[in-house]
């Protein structure tokens, strides 16, 4: 359960610090991993999460405090970072922390000219294929994070980004519906 923490030693005077930790369970991937959160990939993804959420959360409302976001991967089958971003968006909403907009993320790739959205792990591992990760704030259409691995021709970039964008918008609809339903439940419980 996400909880807001009090101030820590790294407090900034005018806004909140967002602290992220990304951790994978040892049984999450096909081969057993040994280091849940010490390794470089975890550090890099945590940094990306931090950047994404600093762009989305209204940090100037909480000076001198720290918001901790801990993400735990239970099972990994491709699109780890995207699932983390979507889950963290919902968690931050659930905690009542104001954000500019939902952050929806999706991965995309190309397989022989056809753009694919939301790659699973065999698709990600496909030799040499490019992979694009996009984190979007759907209402304004602003991009919080974009990341591309392997080589992609510039003309194809448009198609891949469009595919990822569409997936993000579809996700936004789902997340929005879930948040509103939950809000209805909670107000019904508290109202009567």
């Amino acid at each position: 359960p996400p909880q807001m923490r009090g101030s820590r030693s790294k407090a900034l005077p005018d806004r909140a610090v967002v602290n992220c930790q990304y951790s994978m369970a040892t049984f999450s991937t096909g081969e057993r991993r040994r280091r849940p959160h010490g390794d470089r990939q975890a550090g890099e993804l945590a940094l990306h999460l931090k950047q994404t959420f600093e762009a989305a959360i209204l940090t100037h409302l909480f000076p001198r405090s720290q918001i901790d976001i801990y993400v735990q991967i239970l099972q990994a089958d491709g699109g780890n970072y995207c699932a983390c971003v979507n889950a963290a968006t919902l968690a931050v909403m659930d905690a009542g922390i104001p954000m500019r907009d939902y952050v929806c993320a999706s991965s995309a790739g190309l397989a022989e000219e056809t753009p694919l959205a939301d790659l699973s792990s065999p698709e990600e591992a496909a030799a040499g294929g490019p992979g694009l990760v996009l984190a979007l704030l759907p209402a304004a259409g602003q991009i919080a994070l974009v990341q591309l691995s392997a080589r992609l021709h510039q003309e194809r970039l448009e198609a891949a980004m469009e595919a990822a964008g569409q997936a993000c918008r579809a996700l936004h609809a789902v997340l929005d519906r879930v948040v509103r339903e939950r809000l209805r439940e909670v107000t019904a419980l508290m109202g009567d």
Partner: protein, 291 residues
Amino acid sequence: MASVVLSEAEKLYIVHGVQEDLRVDGRGCEDYRCAEVETDVVSNTSGSARVKLGHTDILVGVKAEMGTPKLEKPDEGYLEFFVDCSANATPEFEGRGGEELGTEIANTLYRVFSSDNSVDLKSLCINPREHCWVLYVDVLLLECGGNLFDAISIAVKAALFNTRIPKVRVLEDEEGSKEIELSDDPYDCIRLNVDDVPCIVTLSKIGYRHVVDATLQEEACSLASLLISVTSKGALTSLKKVGKGSLDPESIFEMMETGKRVGKSLHTALQKILEEEESLGASRQKVGFLG
């Protein structure tokens, strides 16, 4: 362990209540909280289980891999335990914070499973001295709500029950070198016999009486606890005292008797649930992590 802030008045309230066999949530001294156990939640493991005991949430995954047997036991496989305290449980567990607690729990698990007949290790052997199955049991602490050891041992037992190890055939070449062939059929597998797997019962001493399944607040009031691992037949496999206070010998014997009683009923309840789940088979609706 996660810390909770309690005032002196609250502590006194809990202690007095326990003397009268009445706990804060209405349970008696020997009652467990309502527990939810679900197996086969993570699909790319050989076996998995999730246990929710009140606010305590544990996820265990078992992965079976091939390895070489240990030198002193050449015809047996073995189990390796690893405990990871997720930062979700308490912010103190961020980064390296949860490692101390994790190693303490892992060492306790090693000791509990160290007795020879808890798990049939000979069935894990493929080729004596060359190949055997190693079961990596990974415990993930998702939320800390008191009574970690009991929940972990229940989850480990459920996960081992759920573990499916593929059958292997050993083929001998002309030169005598052996080749291992894994059977292709996903349903052709060996299951472990978990009848003798022990469960840990934690008895916390509060005042003059002891309670089973303490919540975080009750743990804060108790000075000493006894961890007993009991098998389904009532045999004790290990005993450990934790805590800053001391226990006198009569109370230790009393606690052991209570532990055996409670342990036996825990085992029968768990076995019943596991068999029920198993009998539902593929038509079982998995709740998993949502809801």
